[in-house]
């Protein structure tokens, strides 16, 4: 199967710190792919390179075979790579409706109100359209962030620690929501909660010191001694 996103030798060093160090990575269409690894392993930097928030020093990024390595972030979003922030990044003083409408209208403003409400209902925020975003609870702000990602109707949805700060009950519905997105949307997920990862992911890539330590199914990753030593067993 041709990968939807592929990176070849992707590298970004900060001085002596090898944040991302020659990463070869494949994201297959329709999968839920989890990116795990210890703190400082380079996960967020790696997805920043994919989404265009940072530019690599060397290596290449391909989207469905097209080289997008030098494309600016907003152009990548238009090509279907959506990124949701690890630290919730919404428009706090705008209404919930406007937050999501901004995402919808960035790829054409037809049926704006309907599409906006759809995305909100999907994450369970229906009925809160008129509320100012900063007055939402933290969990709801995370869901709003997710609704903005969904409203972009992306080919690839990159989620950076989406369950951080969610209550246990919210995590369950979050898992069901993500499962409902595939295979139309491919999901790449950075996640620390191993239960979520094992529950949700069809494939896992483990990063350590900016390099790929292992890549495989959840069962393969669980049985991998190197991964256990570096991460899971700790």
């Amino acid at each position: 199967m041709a990968p939807l996103i592929e990176t070849r030798g992707l590298t970004l060093h900060f001085g002596g710190l090898k944040a991302v160090d020659g990463v070869d990575f494949r994201l297959n269409p329709g999968e839920i792919h989890a990116l795990i690894g210890p703190n400082g392993a380079g996960k967020t930097t790696f997805v920043s390179l994919l989404s265009g928030r940072r530019m690599p020093q060397s290596g290449a990024i391909l989207l469905a075979g097209e080289d997008i390595t030098r494309l600016p972030a907003h152009a990548r979003v238009r090509k279907g790579i959506a990124y949701t922030f690890q630290i919730t990044s919404i428009f706090p003083r705008l209404s919930v409706f406007d937050n999501v409408a901004l995402a919808v209208q960035s790829h054409g403003a037809r049926d704006l109100p309907a599409k906006t409400r759809d995305a909100l209902v999907r994450v369970g925020l229906g009925g809160l359209e008129d509320q100012e975003a900063q007055t939402l609870s933290y969990g709801h702000q995370r869901l709003l962030e997710l609704a903005m990602g969904l409203a972009l109707a992306p080919r690839v949805l990159i989620l950076d620690e989406p369950t951080q700060g969610l209550a246990a009950s919210e995590i369950d519905s979050f898992i069901r929501l993500i499962e409902s997105l595939v295979p139309e949307t491919t999901v790449l997920l950075i996640e620390h909660n191993m239960e979520v990862v094992m529950d949700l992911a069809t494939r896992i890539t483990v990063l350590n010191f900016g390099q790929v330590l292992a890549s495989g199914t959840p069962a393969q990753i669980r049985g991998n001694p190197a991964v256990q030593e570096a991460y899971l067993g700790a």
């Binding site: 989404s51 907003h74 979003v77 919404i90 428009f91 901004l102 972009l152």
Partner: protein
């Protein structure tokens, strides 16, 4: 619907005001309306898009000189001269934006200030044409529109009101459009906007160019209605002025610029009747504003009472 009613009511009220006010006050109101157009333009850039420019005098002057010089040297009448002025302001803003928008925040303030100073010095340098510091008065023959003499009270007032009404209603449409939402997104969270597929540079450039069109329209109208063009309109004061109107009336509100302009005029008039140090009183009023209503009057009203206010 409520918003449209309110805006149309204001325009109707201003139309009625010419019959109620003395000629002196009606002329002042015409001046306020023209300057409010300038402030509306400033508000689209600063209040909605978050672009704190210190160089808008340049766009105002570009409109003023485009209209004034073409009337002076080519004998253009008010209609074509106004159109030239509008596009003069827009083109100047777009050109400045292409360079200045590579910066943000304080750097953007300084770069726009420098451009405006350069513009001011350019006007002085070509004093033989521009009249330099002293400026020039427009030939009376050019100050006509469809046969009406714009130097007389009623045509002048109606011309100012027409430009003001057009500016106000266009700004209402713009800020309530998807593009208006995009402008606000730039102000509120540029990084998130980028990650929603918007190109911050082009959005801000478009907003600044629209702002320049308004400033140019105001500059041209000022020249044509009041008959004088001079370099003093290109000084830093005329960059600060629209900012004060906007801050006083409420940044990011469609009616704030007009309200701010009216109140500032009234404040200066009242204070200068009391003391020759009237700027001291104006300054004290502005300090009080920043302390007690940092969102301006209509910004505070919107927050507390009328959420629907555009």
């Amino acid at each position: 619907m409520k918003a449209w009613t309110l805006h149309l009511a204001l325009i109707a009220g201003l139309f009625a005001a010419q019959f109620l006010l003395s000629p002196y006050h009606a002329t002042n109101l015409a001046r306020i309306m023209v300057l409010a157009v300038f402030a509306m333009g400033y508000n689209l850039a600063f209040g909605y898009t978050g672009l704190l420019s210190l160089g808008h005098a340049l766009f105002f002057a570009a409109g003023m000189y485009a209209a004034g010089l073409s009337a002076q040297f080519w004998g253009l009448s008010a209609g074509p001269a106004l159109i030239l002025g509008i596009f003069g302001g827009g083109a100047m803003a777009a050109a400045v934006g292409l360079l200045a928008l590579r910066t943000a925040g304080v750097s953007f303030m300084i770069v726009t200030l420098m451009f405006a100073q350069a513009g001011y010095l350019t006007i002085l340098y070509f004093g033989a044409t521009t009249g330099g510091d002293e400026g020039f008065t427009l030939p009376a023959a050019t100050r006509t529109f469809l046969g009406f003499d714009l130097s007389t009270d009623t045509p002048r007032f109606l011309a100012a009101l027409t430009i003001f009404a057009a500016g106000l209603l266009v700004s209402l449409v713009v800020v309530r459009s998807p593009f208006g939402r995009t402008m606000v997104a730039m102000r509120e969270n540029e990084e998130r906007s980028r990650m929603l597929g918007m190109n911050p540079f082009t959005v801000k450039l478009a907003a600044l160019a629209i702002s320049g069109l308004y400033s140019g329209a105001a500059g041209a109208a000022y020249a044509l209605l009041f008959g004088y063009v001079g370099a003093s309109f290109a000084t830093i004061q005329y960059s600060i002025l629209p900012m004060l109107y906007v801050l006083l009336g409420g940044a990011g509100t469609t009616l704030g610029p007009f309200l701010g302009a009216v109140l500032m005029f009234a404040l200066i008039e009242a204070a200068s009747n009391l003391t020759s140090a009237y700027l001291f009183l104006v300054g004290a009023a502005l300090v009080a504003l920043v302390l007690f209503a940092p969102k301006g009057i209509l910004g505070t009203v919107r927050e507390r009472v009328a959420r629907w206010l555009p």
